[in-house]
């Protein structure tokens, strides 16, 4: 077991990792940018080191400073959280080369799954259904036109090195391909340094269903059930839930099995998520694998009783999973709402500021994951998510009611938040009846 780990992240996930480590008796050291000097995770970690100015590139993405800090302060492992360096294969290699354990999958696995096109190929070879599309990188617009005419329009041109919804363009017909090809290539080049594109059939209005995987370093792989993350705005998730109530038993089994297959094909270790889209006709396809712990992991924890971050640390320290697939049972229903400091009326523009007053909801089956407190200044340097509210109840109906009450109980003065908008979604008839897909939020706006 590790004695001391370094947390290379900030905000709510940094605090989450600190708590899991302390529960295991592990000392914690957090690295932070000068903008986070007074933050709660920095206050509560056993030790803290300022590694740079607010700009992420000079702080949370500063690989050399982070590794040097870990070595100098006797840390045996680094937990990267999500975002930042969590899926950076080069960083993982640096850890490996310097005798540091990276709490996540191996560099080679991250590299393989991070290349979207190679991940698709691997899945196809292993019998996991993928969205119909190109076999390989598409080199020219003409090649794109040919492939598109085979798989049928509309198509999506996607950056192979991409993610987060960038470097993607839709083409509804052959006439739109040239423009889409060029635009996607140049956006991919500037965002990821790699202009390679592949093509997928554009699935209209799908549901986003993902499966949580845990794998130890002894070949044991389990799934912890699925999540429905269809409530999104511009590819940013707002509300996530587990289990996915829209799935019939057959499709659920199929997706869960496919996720295990995918993880096995990738030689996966530690925590990960396999993402699928399910179209209105219940066709389901692998989209990508996220080789990190995700923002929405708490809903899975609530229904299974398994602490995913704790499991990550244990797996990385060489422990076997102490349960088999049959031991994992799902209880009840869980929903998470991401509370962001944003001004909904101004196009969800980030709304930084100082929190004057804060009252969290609480109670049975109400969980808060947050690093803010009264007096915290939300800085403009990082993303606008400030807090997660999670509920757990015996049924979806009760979970929705519980969340509505919790968000009404939640009081925050000083910054604008998306809470009213979240309540609009939760009170919406279609949402309550489970008749939603990824187009739902834009339909509301």
């Amino acid at each position: 077991m590790f004695h001391k780990i370094l947390i290379a992240n900030r905000g709510e996930i940094a605090l989450r990792i600190i708590k899991a480590a302390k529960q295991l008796g592990i000392e914690t050291l957090i690295v932070y940018s000068s903008a986070d000097k007074d933050s709660l995770p920095v206050q509560l970690a056993d030790a803290s080191v300022c590694i740079g100015p607010p700009a992420s590139s000079k702080s949370y993405l500063n690989q050399e400073s982070i590794i040097q800090t870990a070595i100098h302060h006797g840390c045996e492992a680094i937990h990267p959280g999500y975002g930042f360096l969590s899926e950076n294969a080069e960083f993982v290699e640096k850890c490996e080369n310097n005798g540091l354990s990276f709490i996540g999958p191996k560099a080679s696995v991250i590299r393989c799954m991070g290349d979207k096109q190679s991940a698709r190929k691997l899945m196809k070879e292993n019998g996991v259904p993928i969205v119909p599309g190109s076999e390989d990188i598409v080199k020219t617009a003409d090649e794109a036109k040919e492939i598109a005419s085979n798989i049928g329009f509309p198509v999506l041109l996607k950056a192979s090195a991409g993610g987060g919804g960038r470097g993607m363009r839709i083409a509804n017909s052959a006439e739109e391909i040239d423009e889409a090809f060029n635009a996607a290539t140049s956006e991919a080049l500037s965002a990821f340094g790699n202009g390679d594109l592949y093509i997928e059939k554009y699935i209209l209005n799908p549901r986003h269903i993902e499966v949580q995987i845990l794998a130890d370093e002894f070949g044991n792989i389990v799934h912890l059930g699925e999540r429905d993350c269809s409530i999104q705005r511009r590819n940013q998730k707002m509300i996530e839930e587990a289990p996915a109530n829209c799935l019939t038993g057959d499709i659920r089994s199929y997706l869960l099995d496919a996720a295990i297959k995918a993880a096995r094909a990738a030689n996966y270790t530690n925590a990960g998520t396999v993402e699928f889209v399910v179209d209105p006709n219940e066709n389901h396809y692998f989209i990508e694998m996220n080789t990190r712990v995700q923002v929405e992991h708490p809903v899975t924890e609530m229904i299974t009783g398994i602490d995913i971050v704790r499991s990550q640390i244990l797996i990385a320290s060489g422990e076997k999973l102490d349960f088999a697939q049959n031991d994992i049972l799902v209880r009840g229903y869980s929903i998470e709402c991401r509370v962001n400091a944003e001004d909904v009326d101004r196009g969800f523009a980030p709304s930084p500021g100082r929190i004057e007053y804060l009252r969290y909801p609480s109670g049975e089956g109400v969980r808060i994951e947050s690093a803010i407190q009264a007096g915290t200044t939300i800085s403009p340097w990082y993303d606008s998510m400030i807090c997660k509210v999670i509920v757990h109840a015996p049924s979806r109906d009760e979970a929705i009611r519980k969340m509505i009450f919790a968000l009404q109980e939640f009081k925050i003065d000083g910054v604008k938040t998306n809470i009213e908008f979240l309540l609009r979604i939760l009170n919406n008839n279609d949402y309550c009846e489970g008749k939603v897909d990824t187009s739902f939020v834009s339909g509301l706006l």
Binding site: K4, S34, V49, C50, I51, S65, Q68, T69, G305
Partner: protein, 185 residues
């Protein structure tokens, strides 16, 4: 006649333990006029609910009785005492926080432009860039900071004299740590 088990309290306790750890819903052992029946009842179809507490999932062991909780506490206290006496790994040095260094001093602080190892001289064995009392011109190199072979030169932000030095060679410095205090000549 085959004897399935001896009907002692110990053996019966073993049977109960085996049953609890198993997936079985019922065990029935009959031996002549002796019979033992163990039956698992599920409450209102929430079989999953009951079974969850019978497994060692995610670290959670079987439910404990209050007596065994007291025994566990005893064992934990003993273990804690034993650990105290073992040597712990100390960090190489406690982290020197910038806030403990800066006071109400007149002058200009030269701060670390990145976190890493501080070097006061260009190469090991060579004389240091500066010492207390040395005059510097704006732009003069006064120290180096290194992290994983990436080296940053720290330069004097203004003309002046080195009044104070807050760190030693090869100490770890955080970003923005004040390393030198420069005053007007």
């Amino acid at each position: 006649m085959v004897t399935i088990m001896d009907w002692t309290v110990e053996t019966i306790k073993d049977v109960i333990a085996i049953f609890e750890e198993s997936d079985l819903s019922k065990i029935e052992i009959e031996d002549g006029d002796k019979k033992i029946v163990l039956n698992r009842e599920s409450a209102q179809g929430t079989v999953g609910y009951n079974s969850a507490f019978r497994r060692n999932i995610g670290g959670y062991g079987l439910p404990q009785s209050f007596q065994s909780i007291a025994k566990m506490k005893e064992m934990q206290d003993e273990l804690a005492d034993a650990k105290e006496s073992m040597t712990k790994t100390e960090p190489k040095e406690p982290i020197k926080k910038a806030s403990t260094v800066i006071g109400d001093k007149d002058g200009t602080y030269v701060k670390a432009s990145m976190a890493g190892i501080l070097y006061m001289q260009p190469k090991p064995g060579e004389p240091p860039y500066v010492e207390v009392g040395k005059s510097v011109k704006k732009g003069d190199t006064v120290a180096l900071i290194e992290a994983m072979k990436m080296i940053n030169e720290i330069t004097a932000p203004c003309d002046g004299v080195i009044k104070e030095i807050f760190f030693q060679n090869e100490q770890f410095v955080e970003f923005d740590s004040p390393i030198f205090l420069i005053v007007e000549e």
